[in-house]
């Protein structure tokens, strides 16, 4: 298992090199001069030239890329063109807010998505199943910004139960201000998880071991949670993991609608101004988050499914044997 984790972490290096190269190339090849965006309409030509030279934009593409990677290896993500502030500081100050929003949305999605999915599967073709299916479809189809505004109008403006925007200070007020963005983000994911759970549970329901469990006289709730759900979990975890990885990269629309100070808004602003170091920093964070979440999902498989765990162990032993042979 340890070897697997190490191997996956090492694989992150080529992923990051590939991703940074692609983003760097796209930003460099795309038309438009970031200096003119940063300095604005009124900047003198001399000022623009001086800034291009200061930022190293007058150097060839490959030289700039190599310099960037070299700085990155030294833990330096560079400074934003626009603000002249350290990109890593700027991203790290916003990342906890994004994690909080992502975790809360996932919590809502899982808490409601899985039970609704199981119910839907067990009551297949009933009114409840149909309502859940149509509801799920609507939730997935609804754009986040629109749902967000509807929730704000109802719960903030009309009922005055919750704040309309921002991230309040203090744990209590912060949790209150978290509810609307988390529900907005979580609704779509909840629907996906619900549909995934439904189809997955439907598949396991027809398996022999479920009939055997029932025949043994195990209570229906134990059959559902211990036998059906447990075996149906793999696709649900995969889907939830992918969604969570996306969420950690920041949710531009939801963060904008709710004035939530996360990395999504930071990246959006950076893209608008072609602020290459800021965009690259955000993309690296996204890639690492996504890879780490996927790795965690793989590890989670081992806990859920003993067959996968034994495969990991086998794989680990084989690698150990191979290493021993090589040593000999």
């Amino acid at each position: 298992m340890f070897r697997l984790i190490l191997k996956r972490l090492l694989l992150l290096i080529p992923v990051l090199i590939g991703v940074t190269f692609l983003v760097f190339a796209i930003l460099s090849l795309a038309p438009g001069d970031p200096v003119l965006v940063v300095l604005g309409d009124n900047a003198t030509e001399e000022a623009a030239e001086a800034m291009r030279s200061e930022l190293g934009l007058d150097k060839p593409f490959l030289e700039r890329y190599v310099n960037y990677i070299w700085d990155l290896l030294h833990g330096d993500f560079g400074k934003s063109y626009k603000t002249k502030l350290s990109v890593s500081d700027q991203i790290l100050s916003r990342f906890p807010n994004t994690i909080l929003l992502a975790l809360s949305s996932m919590l809502i999605a899982l808490l409601f998505g899985i039970p609704l999915g199981i119910l839907s599967a067990k009551k297949q073709y009933t009114l409840l199943d149909n309502v859940a299916s149509v509801g799920g479809l609507i939730s997935v189809s609804m754009p986040n910004f629109w749902l967000g505004l509807l929730l704000v109008i109802l719960f903030a403006l009309k009922l005055r139960w919750l704040p309309s925007q921002g991230m309040s200070e203090g744990t209590g007020p912060m949790l209150k201000s978290l509810i609307l963005p988390a529900v907005t983000l979580g609704t779509g994911i909840m629907a996906t998880i619900m549909r995934m759970t439904r189809s997955s549970v439907l598949e396991t329901m027809r398996q022999d071991y479920v009939s055997t469990a029932r025949a043994k006289g195990i209570s229906e709730s134990q059959v559902t949670t211990g036998h059906m759900l447990k075996n149906a979990l793999i696709p649900i975890i995969t889907s939830a993991g992918l969604q969570f990885g996306h969420l950690l990269g920041g949710s531009m629309l939801t963060e904008t609608v709710f004035s939530w100070p996360g990395v999504g808004r930071y990246m959006l602003d950076a893209i608008k101004t072609k602020d290459t170091p800021a965009v690259l920093g955000s993309v690296i964070l996204m890639s690492v988050s996504f890879s780490v979440v996927n790795l965690l999902v793989d590890i989670l498989y081992a806990f859920v499914d003993p067959r996968i765990k034994s495969q990991y162990k086998k794989h680990g032993k084989k690698s150990a044997l191979r290493a021993k042979k090589q040593e000999a």
Partner: protein, 530 residues
Amino acid sequence: MKHRLLALLLAACTLLCLVLTSCSKSTDSSQDNSADAAAQDPQQADANGNYKDTVVWAQSADVTSMDPHVGKETAAVTVTCNIFSTLMEVIGDGDPQPLLAESYQQLNDTDWEFTIRQGVKFHDGSDLTVEDVKWSLDRAIASNYVNYIVSFIESVEITGDNTIVVHCTAPYAPILNNLSMPFSAIVPKAYIEANGDEYFSQHPIGSGPYKMVKWNPSDSVKLEAFDEYFMGKPATKNLVMKVIPEAAQRVIALEMGEVDIAYSIEANDVSKIDANPDLVKYTRPSMTCFNYFFNLIDEDRPTYDLKVRQAICYAIDRQKIIDTILQGSATLADSMIAPIVACYTPTPTYDYDLEKAKQLMAESSYPNGCDLIMVTNQSQQRLEICQVVQQMLKELNINVEIRTYEQATYIQALNEHEHDMGFSAWITSTGDADYTYYPCYHSTQKGKPGNRSFFGNPKADELIEKGRSLSDPEARKEVYSELNQIIYENCTQLYICHPLTVEACTKYVEGFVSNKDGYNRLWTVKCLQS
């Protein structure tokens, strides 16, 4: 068991995250928390008992840099103008008045002497000296971000304990306007030299009415009154700037009382403000001009032909654009210079006259119509204006292709004259006409940001140079009137309108003055308990 473990893990992660965010938000002093509490709790009042001790305003974007010689975007300056002071200052629609400068006098055509106020303190308690003033202006000149505002300065000389002389490269009449721009703010030399530029850009110290307490990136900035402010104690103890990017959300926050003042109200939200008796609207003409630069440089382009340009101008019903897309929140423009700008002079206009437009088109080199390229950025409002103009030009058998680019590509497309008509929203930031005439019409500025018509005319050059060298406003107006006639005859642009700037407050706010430059100084603002 494993499920329990997983649930525990998830709960622990959420808790950890909450703690992390709480920690990152509460690293500051207790004043900070009380400021926030007061913002939400209208029961807390200042010593008078009737007024809130915290006023909250909402704006669309965060500060880019707290360094006034770097952060020049409106969103940055609306905050930093409350932290720093300048030699001169503009309040409301007025002319520049001395602020840090106690008085000033013009010594000769190019030299201006400023007497600096004594006893002014920076927020760290140190004295503001003439050394700081010279060092700050030199720093602004060296800054790539803001040097265009002070590029007229050749050198700054300290001539006494409290006097400096600004030597200009050439006679420059709008000097007082430029020195009232927050980008020419006076900063503490010793503090920056000791802590470095990057530290200063996050922990600024100025001599303005408010000192910065905390900056939560993308979220808020908290300011606290500087009781030793040389103009007197600020009216409210704390100011909080909240970033609310969505225009509709800013109005909702205002309606709910979450904020006391909201900037940049969009045209389609104005009716909501009007309908709410608890809100007060502040409307003022802006110094922005929505216009299209015609391409005058490429001979093979239709807009090279004066008659085509004039026909286009006559064919556009600008009032209809204002009434529909801008919902009345704009005034017709007769030139790039808005009427509130110093040295504005009225100019003849090409008013909507379709018959005249058709006649001019028939007389032009393109009697059967032509194809045009229109370039704009991704602003929805601009795109809608372009679409209306596109429809209106169909009457002249002109087919318009609208090319929408993100900002960087848009600027490049205009500089490389890809356009026949390039949309522009030019702002006369300093409030003086020269700020627009020189970059937009002087032949040396062809192809540079500003002169996207690639217009050049020796007589116009002469008048522009003369205009900036004269100190008598009436004489300048005469010069600019003649210049306007040349620009009108050459029909370099299609002027659409000057959009109105709309800000709104709750009815409890007192002392709010909407500044013509958009940088509202809030030290006189106070807010009654609701």
